[in-house]
Structures are given as structure tokens and as C-alpha cells.
Amino acid sequence: MSALLAEVPYWGQSLLRVLGGIVAVLLPAGTIVYIFLFKMMSFMQSRLGPMEAGPYGSMQLFAEVGKWLQKEDIVPERADARIFKMAPVIVLLSTFLLVAVVPFGPDAWFTDFETGIFYALAVSSISVLGILIAGWSSANKYSLLGGLRAAGQLIAYELPMVLAVIGVVIQAETMNLQKIVVAQNSGSMFGIDTFGHPYVISQFIGFVIFMIAIQAELTQAPFDMPIAESELVSGYMTEYSGFRFLIFFIGEFATAGVFAMIASVLFLGGWGVPFSWFGWTSIDSIDNWMNVVGPLIMFTKMMLLVFIIMWIRFSYPRLREDQLQRFAWKGLIPVALLNIAVTSILKVVF
């Protein structure tokens, strides 16, 4: 982005970045909600989904937003009002912080952290705070149970997520997301460099673990016990209404989008296409049009991953809380550790 915005004054740059961030968060979120939640889920259930607002219900999202915005913002009488109001903002905040490190093109990025992926994992853990205090401050037993469940779950699945990422970091030898993208697209597999080297192939176990962890972090089925409506009546969101619920809602899907973006950066080559197709040699030799096409490629890959997430969400029943924890600690984490060990051994050997 620095190259693109060289002529723009500092404040303009900042403004553009903020706007870009909002677009990068809200646009995928809206698309995901419409395509997957409204349409794909309905189709999977032999129905059409919203059809009235706009052609094929395409304006439904705005109708929903309008509905929520005009609903009363109810704060339960015995709730801790300030914290209760703050909680959804914290959740959404973590999403915005998260998107800051995702690269969208050779020059289209917000910040270029050297420890990008580490940063991403760190800020993604902030949302736990929001969920916990949402559960606590609602003064509702179901919410408290939901909040506690969510916190336990998010902490438990953060570990396999970090561990799965380490495999990629070992392979790419960097934590910088931009460099990870470049490493994948300029690499080669078994001497063939036509397809680059997307880590989804060599780090398949890591990819699966990462996707499972994302599923859990997003509290999507089969890991949706924090908001399990048949048990806890939406858990920590029970008491929320109006635009605060909307923020939670946006947060949920925006985070899904951003996590999918990070997964696509880590495992699918992010915004890039294999460099050998166009004869690029390094990141500096990439043509400028990639800054426009790159985000689209990224978006496609993201949608693919979100499709998988949502597909599983609409097909599976949920696990029980103890099964979830057991799965994380006895299944994912050992496998992830093994993956790291194997990866590092292979890295040293080859």
C-alpha cells in the first residue's frame, strides 16, 4: 500500500487504511452472510431462503440490519451496564485488529508486521475477553454458562491453532504473512514449480488442524456449544438485542471471513498465483495489476474456505463440552505437536 499511496498525505493514508479495513471486514462478512447463511443453508435444506427483499432476496441483509437497528437496545436490569455494552465492541475490535496484517496484494496491505501471524494469533485471542464479560455481565445463568464454555473452548483451541501455524512458519522460515505468500507462490514441489508450493499439500495435517481450530474459534457447529440454542438459548448472546446483537452477529461472520483469509494466506497461497505463470522472480517484479486482482483471488480462496466451514456447520450436530475439550487436548494438540516434529525433521533433512 505504501507504493500505491505514495502521493497521498499522511492523514489521507490513515483514513484510507481505516476505510480499507472496514471494507475488508464488512464486505466479506456481508457476502458470507448472504451467500452462505441465507442461500447455501436454505438450499441445503430444500428451500430458497429470503426471496422478497430485492432480486432473490439480495437486499435481505440490509433489511435485517435495519430491523436490528430499530429494535430497542435492552440492557437487563441487573446487568453490569457498562461492561454489558462494551462486550460486543471488544469482540468486533479483535476482528478489525486481525484484518490489519492480512496482505491482499504485493503492495496492498495495511501493516507489514515482521511477526504477522504471531500478531494475528495474539489479537484473535482478545475476543475471548469480550465473550467472557458478555456472559458475565448479562446476569443470566445461561449466559454465564455460555461465556465460560466459550472461554474454555477458545483457549483450548487456540493452542492447536498456534501449533498448526508453526508447521507453516517452519516451512516458510518467516512469520511475516506477506513472505509466507511469496514463499508459497515462488516455491516448487518436487522440482515442479508450475503450481508453486501451496502449503495445503505439504502441511495438510496442519491445514486440517487449523480449519478445525477455526471452526471451534468461530463457535460454529460442531463446536457451537457456547451459543447452543437448544441448551443454553444462545449462551452469552441471550440477553443482547438490537444493534449490540448485530455487532455480535457481524463479528461472528467477519471473523469467519478474516480467519478464512488468514488460512488462505497460510495454506493456499493468499493473494498470489504461482509466480512461474507470469515469469515473476520476486515480490518486486510483480506487475502492478496484481494489486487489483490479488484481492479478488484472495476473496475467491476465502470464499472456498468459508464454504467448507459453513458446509460443516450446516451438516453436523454439536459435540458436548467435555468431548470438545478431550478432542482438543487428546486429539488435536498431540497431532499438531507430531506435525511440528515431523516438519522440523524433514526441514532439517531436506
Partner: protein, 164 residues
């Protein structure tokens, strides 16, 4: 440098105010949330001190894990919503002179030792590689010890929290 100084002072004031709220507020969960602000501020200061990795670790470990544990703990011990009266000792006022005396002592020592010494202007950000060379090189033994401490802590926490 000016921008950084401004940043420092904003964050510092925020941190001090939040830290004061941590020790004075009469709601445990509020105290935890104020502590989050202090910790986040500390992460900011680390970035000013060219310690990016430590800063992010601070966020990951402190805010992502430690504070969540705190909130967990408070919620499991039925933290009440609203003010609680019995969070402080009867002799809490003793703390003020102690803290002040300590502050004065430290202030005097610091002023005399460092005066208006400045930090190097062009400190480059410490890379992860340097830190890892340190950890797995000369400081390997502490690293091992730390690993054992963590293991012991895990086992200990489980033993403590188990019911049977």
C-alpha cells in the same frame, strides 16, 4: 521521536490511571478489565522499546490467556455484579505511605543514576531470530528450568483443582 514521545505519554497516563483503578475499584471483574488496559498499554510501551515480539507475546499470553484465567477464576467464584464492600483490608491506608516511600526512594535512585540519559535514537527492532538465539543459546538452562516450572504448574494446577 516526537510522535513516539506523544505516544509514550498518552499510554503512560492511561496505564497509571488504569493501574490505580485496578487497586481501588470495588468490583473484581472491573479490576480485571482495568488490568487488561494496563497490560495492553505495557504491550504498547514494549513496541516503543523496539520489542515487537515481546509485545505480541504479552498480548497473546497476558490478555489472551492470563486475563481470561482471571476472569474465569472470578466468575467461578461467583463474582457479583455491582460493588463489593469487603475487597480491601481494614488497614489498607497503610499501603499509601509504603507505596509513596518506595516511589520516592526509587525516584531518587533513578534520577541520580540516569539523570537525563537518552535512549539510543536509532534502535532497530529486535528480530525474533536474535531472541531465539539467546533463548536456545546462552539461556538454554533457564529455558529448561522454565519448561519444568510450567510443567509443574500445569500438574499442580490440575492437582489443586481436581476434586478427587
Amino acid at each position: 521521536m516526537i510522535a513516539q514521545n506523544i505516544g509514550f505519554w498518552i499510554i503512560a497516563v492511561l496505564m497509571v490511571v488504569s493501574a490505580l483503578r485496578v487497586v481501588t475499584t470495588n468490583n473484581v471483574v472491573h479490576a480485571a478489565l482495568w488490568l487488561v488496559v494496563v497490560l495492553a498499554g505495557a504491550a504498547g510501551q514494549y513496541i516503543l522499546l523496539a520489542a515487537e515480539f515481546v509485545a505480541i507475546t504479552q498480548v497473546l499470553v497476558y490478555i489472551g490467556a492470563v486475563m481470561v484465567l482471571f476472569l474465569f477464576g472470578t466468575m467461578l467464584t461467583r463474582a457479583r455484579i455491582g460493588a463489593e464492600s469487603d475487597l480491601n483490608n481494614s488497614y489498607k491506608k497503610l499501603g499509601i505511605p509504603v507505596g509513596l516511600v518506595m516511589l520516592v526512594a526509587m525516584g531518587l535512585a533513578l534520577t541520580r543514576s540516569f539523570g537525563d540519559e537518552k535512549l539510543p535514537e536509532s534502535a532497530k527492532v529486535v528480530s525474533i531470530q536474535e531472541v531465539s538465539d539467546q533463548i536456545f543459546g546462552p539461556y538454554l538452562l533457564p529455558f529448561w528450568a522454565l519448561s519444568f516450572v510450567l510443567l509443574a504448574a500445569v500438574v499442580g494446577a490440575i492437582v489443586l483443582a481436581r476434586k478427587d
